[in-house]
């Protein structure tokens, strides 16, 4: 049996408490799986008095990061404090001190992945981060190891459980966004300030990490076009449902010609102008990235992911489509992923994976991020227009002028009689996002437009 692996836990809140709990209660199990003991040597928290949840021995608790990092009995530093300032310093200091790092901090990796991974390579230490994306769902291992023989061509993820909980409540129980958010907050699925969850920021951080693994692209926050669910109107969920679609907040990355194409079936390089046209990045080696509410057919696997669950659909050129689903947050699920990383370090797998993967390095996989305006997609467009002759003619003329052809039109009756605006829903064939937005601006300037047009990407 190898020497004990010594662990310092920086941050011991919900997730850290879960990690400490399993380390302390199931040491025998972990040792059997790892072939050596895993010992919790240090726990660093801001306020030791608040550490009530888990019976961590008092003599290993402190407020001193540096002492924990430099303790020679510590081999791995687990960063679970969150934030990107002190956390970054802790991670870089740990690597400089020759310690491996495990972190669940998606914002930190999305913002400073390059700097952190270069530091780890210099120090010949590993950084592990299974818990940073999709909680208990092992999507990092799936992309980096299980699917390693594939070139990934598309990733579609439900990566924010809060948003999916809200969307499920709106779709299945006809709730408004505000009511669904209030329920999510009451049940602990949403924070008091839910902004980063519902505006797509959290999902974008996670997508940046997945895109790095699958395509080798380093996406800055501004590279990922981002639309949240915070302005979603219940009316659009109803209209989508009538058309056979479910609206999900998706984090997506896809390569040229592969958007929702079944391998060998609809895998056209060019969008099909006659029917099921595809969202397509412009250049041959472009990767389109976005976080947005997307209309998925009711029968799509991801359309059936309900509540606070996370799920990721990955399309690879050898395997086809595989799906990974599970709890995306919370004490147990996130702790499970942190502990899997610790076992991998103890076994010696993680070090080899880290060295082989060369993440956030200069080594390019040949992909570039497609400018958002060049990405092709079908669109759902919903207008509120005056109930007057000629409105549909005006709107369709503007779309035609931008070479955008129409797949279907549904004009809904006004909710009230007597001159109030009526909803008009148009589904387009594939069009470049830039052109679509030009048309949108013109449509919004029509005298008959009663409110700014609402639009979403179609998943097919």
């Amino acid at each position: 049996m190898l020497d004990t692996l010594g662990i310092a836990l920086i941050g011991c809140g919900t997730v850290g408490g879960g990690v400490a709990d399993v380390l302390l209660r199931h040491g025998d199990r972990l040792a059997a799986r790892a072939g050596r003991s895993l010992a919790l040597r240090r726990v660093v928290v801001r306020d030791p008095a608040k550490l009530r949840d888990v019976p961590v021995p008092a003599d290993i608790v402190s407020t001193d990061h540096a002492a924990a990092i430099h303790d020679p009995a510590v081999h791995v530093v687990v960063e679970l404090m969150g934030g990107t300032t002190t956390a970054k310093k802790v991670v870089l200091d740990a690597l400089a001190a020759g310690k491996h790092v495990v972190t669940a901090n998606k914002a930190l990796l999305a913002e400073a992945g390059h700097e952190i991974f270069e530091a780890a390579r210099r120090a010949e230490r590993a950084v592990c981060f299974e818990a940073a994306v999709a909680g208990g769902v092992p999507i990092i291992r799936a992309l980096g190891e299980s699917l390693a023989a594939n070139q990934v061509t598309a990733i579609q993820g439900i990566l924010n459980g809060t948003s999916n909980f809200i969307l499920t409540a709106m779709a299945e129980r006809g709730m408004t966004y505000a009511a669904a958010l209030a329920e999510a907050q009451r049940l602990g699925y949403a924070e008091a300030d839910p902004t980063l969850d519902v505006d797509g920021s959290d999902a974008a951080h996670k997508l940046a990490i997945l895109a790095q693994i699958a395509f080798g692209v380093t996406a800055k926050p501004t590279d990922i076009s981002r639309q949240g669910i915070d302005t979603l109107d219940a009316m659009d969920i109803r209209f989508a449902d009538e058309l056979g679609y479910t609206i999900k907040l998706l984090a997506e990355a896809w390569t040229s010609g592969t958007r929702n194409a079944e391998p060998g079936v609809r895998n056209e390089k060019q969008p099909d102008s006659s029917g099921s046209a595809l969202r397509t990045p412009h250049s041959a080696l472009g990767v389109a990235l976005h976080v947005a509410p997307v209309l998925l057919r009711h029968t799509d696997l991801l359309a059936q992911v309900r509540g606070a669950y996370n799920a990721v659909l990955v399309r690879g050129d050898v395997v086809g489509e595989t799906l990974y689903q599970g709890p995306g947050a919370g004490r147990g699920p996130t702790a499970s992923s942190v502990l899997a990383d610790l076992i991998d370090l103890a076994v010696g797998r993680a070090q080899r994976t880290f060295a082989a993967a060369q993440l956030w390095s200069k080594a390019s996989k040949g992909f570039a991020i497609e400018p958002p305006e060049r990405v092709r997609s079908r669109f759902y467009l919903r207008l509120l227009v005056a109930d007057k002759p000629g409105v549909l003619a005006d709107v369709t003329r503007i779309l035609a002028d931008e070479q955008i052809s129409i797949s279907s039109v549904v004009q809904h009756e006004a909710a009230e009689s007597g001159g109030s605006p009526v909803p008009l829903v148009i589904v387009t064939h594939a069009a470049e996002t830039g052109r679509f937005k030009l048309a949108l601006a013109k449509i919004n300037r029509l005298a008959t437009a009663a409110a700014p047009a609402v639009f979403f990407s179609m998943g097919d």
Copy 2:
């Protein structure tokens, strides 16, 4: 860069051809992922003239296993020939010659896992088998690595795509078993002789492998109670649907008190006689194993897996429930998993995983296989009975005598009028399988029983 990893492929049919194709066409990609080159050195087939599918260089093709195995430029032997006689010899010879082994052969591992893994440990070589269970779905890595911090408490798998394709056609299109099987054969989802797929044997082999990883139990074929779909009547799919259930052929393993229990919610140690009673193995450390058609609620994740897909739901004591879904067979999916194992060997991960896992070893995880008759379950029971007074009283009296209480009863009207037998559906609360079968024998002896009773396990 490390030395090239030399590969011998024994068997080059559908899957072997897929592996050779990727090795030959995407060598650069694989080398980048593995940090070293992967070279196809030898291909051994029964009839080299039949190797039309893939442009394998003629000078590496032969019919000579031994020459390939003993070639010093070969480091890994990939066994894709199938069967359990020559394949076993090839695997053992390869290990004795100091070669690692990758195999997709579930029957071989289920039958001779102990002997093969002991030989590998003696030779200090690794055996990798991601492709042996669920094709392109990385369930072996999920159980062995991603969920390594968990004690798995339940596995529910749709592990036979042929059966799931047939069941989907029967449920969604009202087809008979015979018609659905004929369609599966026409589309290439079923073999000319489909026996091993539809009688549960194939799924039982895969379940034996998963149970070894999750619970350390070595299940012989006779240890796994097995019921196929080959005698399934379309009538039972309809009745199940009316009750809110979908019938799926499941391969299941679960520990005491955990059958379909949400952690912390319905995790009773004893079955609940009032409502949603659980299937429970008898002893504290018992593991129940079976392959059987099971009634799943329409809303269960596995109930929504359609067509030839495979899916595995795993419940762990730390993570909760995670689901893995994808294509369970076929050239690309299975090749993807074989190649993932080859990359893991090239990186050096697989050797460490193999050493740490101690599969098919004497090292017990403390679980024993529960005798099938002691396993508790709820049951769906469907009779065809004479339309006479007193029949329901007779049946319910027999069940009561065995202490089996009834959850619901639906008596269906006869399809034809005039004395023809009527279907009677009874759903029970949890009961020991042995007792249920005693009652069943008595019911079948009733003068009013027009045909042997049909029964299935309930998933909740």
